[in-house]
């Protein structure tokens, strides 16, 4: 009973991380038409910020907040320095720009900090289990699910209730008309990047909490997965990103838990077969985006 429940929790918590990452990709893609491959490096920025915070004994809540802020700030900075000058370029040029940004940041981490993983010790409260009567569940997956849930609720409130949130949804549908309303394109794009960075930052905290260390490449694999999740969900669709993230995370954990021992090395092949099956069934993704007119 414990084990099944624990696997279910693991599945949901991993799915949540993918969902947040995929959302970050989707927010930017839906508005600027850019698949930001530097998204993983934003995670890494948050990871190192957390590492430094812990190193200098910054109180944990503050260190967490600073880490998320660092990723958001880095996202805005990359937009300002790298992507804004390319605003009028086509999708391929934007994609190449994001590869370049990603490579530059990686080199900075490797040479500026260290190529080797740096440990980020967890607070004791997170390392144990939570006991619910006879059931013992890992604290990290539980906290992770909680954080994902709160993030999704806050994001939804922002998108539905605030002018900027509405403007971002509108920008994904028709950016030109949004500008006709007087809403500044540059500001909407900057907020989209900030939001995307913050989502990468939160995902990074959850990722680091599971692993206990940061390294220059830590963002690569999860963001690759998040990209797959965003495609399964429907590229550029925010609800799709969430759905795709959970489907992917849950599929991975289920195969991990229930594949026979001999088949485990091929887990990713099984997962990708499911991905392909989904895309054959729904070529535009689970919840396709309505339109993606570019600015």
């Amino acid at each position: 009973m414990d084990i099944v429940l624990q696997q279910v929790l693991n599945a949901i918590s991993l799915g949540g991380i993918y969902a947040l990452l995929a959302l970050g990709l989707a927010v930017v893609f839906s508005i600027v038409g850019l698949i930001n491959f530097a998204h993983g490096e934003l995670m890494t920025v948050a990871g190192y910020a957390l590492f430094l915070g812990v190193l200098f004994a910054v109180p944990l809540p503050l260190a967490l907040a600073l880490a998320v802020a660092a990723a958001a700030g880095a996202a805005v900075l990359t937009e300002r320095l790298a992507f804004r000058p390319m605003r009028r370029a086509d999708a391929t040029a934007l994609l190449l720009t994001s590869f370049a940004v990603s490579a530059i940041l990686r080199v900075l981490f490797q040479n500026g900090i260290s190529a080797r993983p740096k440990p980020v010790p967890l607070p004791p409260a997170l390392s144990g289990t939570v006991d619910l009567g006879p059931v013992h569940l890992g604290a990290v997956p539980l906290a992770s699910i909680l954080v994902t849930l709160v993030s999704l609720i806050l994001l939804t409130l922002f998108l539905k209730r605030t002018t900027m949130g509405r403007a971002m949804r509108a920008a994904a549908e028709d950016f030109q008309v949004l500008r006709l309303m007087g809403i500044r394109a540059n500001r909407v794009v900057a907020v989209a990047f900030a939001l995307s960075g913050a989502l990468a930052g939160v995902s990074a905290l959850l990722w680091v909490a599971q692993r206990g260390s940061v390294d220059p490449l830590m963002g690569f694999i999860p963001v690759l997965k998040a990209f797959v999740a965003a495609v399964i969900g429907g590229l550029g669709s925010l609800p799709g990103a969430v759905a795709g993230g959970f489907v992917l995370g849950i599929t991975e954990v289920l195969f991990q838990a229930f594949l026979p021992e001999a088949a485990l090395p091929f887990r990713d092949a099984f997962v990708l077969s499911v991905v392909i099956a989904i895309l054959i069934w729904r070529p535009d993704g689970l919840i396709p985006a309505k339109s993606a007119r570019r600015s």
């Binding site: 028709d174 309303m181 309505k290």
Partner: protein, 233 residues
């Protein structure tokens, strides 16, 4: 109020508008006629800042050509674009809210929304529905109401009657006259030349990017060119 001098609009090799001059008098309805691809939308888009213009565009005495659409709407010019282009997955309420968000806040914003709902009662009924679920006529009303949320002094309307049922077309033309009576100057692009010229103080006719005719509404309605091209007889 609006003076356009020697306006050209290019998209790469295509020259959509060539050396156009036109002026719109305060409080008037001015129409821009022409067949498909004549350059009407390009002209309106250039005035609103969506298309990069060459030439001079003066509004209330100061130049606005080359400015961003975000700035031009703040000067008092609103464009209701061709094809309505409401935000389909946003509700009617959200569409209206975005239309006015940078021009008014708080009570003033609420008052403007209330004024548009009073002007278009159908939008009050559909207030919480997604704009994409509205009928074509309702979407057109929403698009106009959304443009009015910035309280423009000059309203640019790009083919507002396109694809609408005859009854709704009547409503649109009545509305244009009402707006004019309320002091909003109108620059109207229309395919429906007969109806447009009935309400026009002045008209301009474009043909493949060139201005070929201009005059008062009556003069144009009597002209051979218009009679042959649009009025069938």
């Amino acid at each position: 109020m609006l003076t356009v001098t020697d306006l050209s609009v290019r998209y790469g090799q295509i020259e959509a508008v060539r050396g156009l001059g036109l002026s719109v008098a305060k409080g008037s309805v001015t129409v821009l006629l022409g067949s498909n691809g004549a350059g009407k939308s390009s002209t309106l888009n250039a005035i609103a800042g969506l298309a990069a213009p060459r030439g001079r565009i003066e509004f209330e005495g100061s130049r606005i050509d080359g400015q961003a659409p975000e700035d031009i709407v703040r000067k008092g010019i609103a464009l209701c674009p061709e094809g309505r282009r409401v935000f389909p997955s946003l509700s009617v309420a959200e569409n209206l809210h975005l239309g006015g968000a940078v021009h008014a806040t708080g009570d003033e914003l609420a008052a403007r929304i209330e004024a548009e709902l009073a002007r278009f009662p159908i939008l009050r009924e559909r207030y919480h529905q997604k704009a994409g679920l509205l009928s074509g006529g309702e979407q057109q009303m929403l698009a106009i109401a959304r443009a009015l949320m910035s309280a423009p002094r000059l309203l640019l309307l790009d083919e507002p009657s396109l694809g609408l049922a005859p009854k709704v077309v009547d409503q649109v033309f009545d509305l244009i006259l009402t707006l004019r009576d309320q002091g909003i100057t109108i620059l109207l692009v229309e395919q429906n030349a007969e109806r447009a010229l009935e309400i026009a103080d002045r008209g301009y006719v474009l043909q493949s990017g060139d201005l070929v005719l201009s005059g008062t509404g009556e003069e144009l309605a009597q002209s051979d060119l218009i009679r042959q091209a649009y009025l069938a007889g």
